[in-house]
Symmetry: C2
Subunit: 228 residues, 2 copies
């Protein structure tokens, strides 16, 4: 920051875009909105909007998240900033991308209304996306996988109480590889991040013990390597 004269330079527009992930029936979904305006009218795009001058980037991302899903107490992390001069055909727009993980038991809020302009799509097979949003989505999936490999972040996608099989299936689906049941359970239980509840998931066959995530372990787990 050498010389400074805010009026000497033309300023770009700055937006935030939020990649909102959720697990629906065991598969990873991403929340998209349908654009009304040109360019890319009627195409699907990540939710996002301009950063207001009096709010931080994180506040802007949170605002978009609340506007689209109604939930606010979720995992939210800055992803990357995309600033290619040509990414918006009209004018220079720099976007700060965030990614959010919404727990399965919270996402029947605004999103599930088939309002047609906001919908969940399978994250691995989204419709054609506006701007460079496919690139942003790819980046978010990579980051999500990477984080799951060495943290226990998958909890953020599950309901408050879940079975070990549900947890394992979330890992398997997102990492796209099969895991050994006994090894998985041992590792996750040894990590001492779960509380065994007294509840069971019924229906089907033998009821499965429900576990919950130890809240006091959140901060710790986010920094810890859990899977090799």
């Amino acid at each position: 920051m050498a010389a400074f004269d805010p009026h000497k330079y033309e300023r770009p527009s700055v937006t935030v875009d939020v990649v909102i992930f959720g697990l629906i029936e065991g598969t990873l979904h991403v929340l998209l909105i349908q654009r009304g305006l040109e360019p890319f009218a009627s195409m699907w795009a990540l939710p996002g909007g301009f950063v207001r001058l009096d709010e931080s980037l994180e506040q802007a991302a949170l605002r978009e998240l609340v506007e689209e899903t109604g939930v606010k107490d979720v995992y939210l992390e800055q992803l990357y900033t995309f600033g290619d001069p040509q990414r918006d055909p009209r004018t220079r727009v720099i976007t700060v991308a965030y990614f959010a993980l919404v727990a399965a038991d919270r996402l029947r809020l605004r999103a599930d209304t088939d309002a047609a302009e906001v919908r969940w799509f399978p994250a691995y097979e989204p419709p054609p996306l506006a701007f460079d949003h496919q690139k942003i989505l790819d980046y978010a999936i990579t980051r999500l996988r990477y984080k799951l490999e060495y943290t226990a972040l998958a909890f953020e996608l599950l309901p408050q109480e879940f079975t070990l099989t549900e947890l394992q299936q979330a890992y398997e689906h997102i990492l796209n590889e099969e895991l050994d049941k006994r090894n998985f359970r041992r590792k996750v239980l040894q990590a001492d991040i779960l509380d065994k509840t007294e509840n069971y998931r019924e229906g089907g066959h033998r009821p499965a013990r429900l576990y919950s995530f130890r809240q006091d372990a959140v901060a710790e787990v986010k920094a810890r390597r859990l899977f090799p």
Copy 2:
């Protein structure tokens, strides 16, 4: 990106700031420039400047890097975007921070001139910094440590040929912990990322074999976990 009208919103200024690291006599240094203008006149700050409308963020960071050091073929990576509304007291400035690693044998270029307004400072004990640059520097150091723990990125800070002891000392200094000499050598040699040269570092006592980094391993190593 719902509605879009670039003229409807006031736009923030966007800058890039670059945390440029170099190893000088075995200790990690950061390149700072002395501000001439208010606010924070005569204080030290990270090199940076406005993003021009026709350049990408990475191009802007590279431009700042070249302006201050004269080198351009170095490791450069986007760090984080800082956008607190109060981080610049005059107006809203969002900055995209990058960090760069400059090899020791290349940094006698523009920086070493005691031009008084550009100098290297010990990264762990910098002078008081303008804006939120201390926070950006802290973040960059954290990221550098983190990357060194699981990649071989320290090569980017060393001259083209180096001894294993020099490499180990770089790791020890940045990670701030002692490493076992035999274990370190075994691990680094087994990783198959070094070429043994026929040259030796003379002077002092027993000459030490020089190694160079296998260029075809750069991409691979950047993604690979090297230290536990």
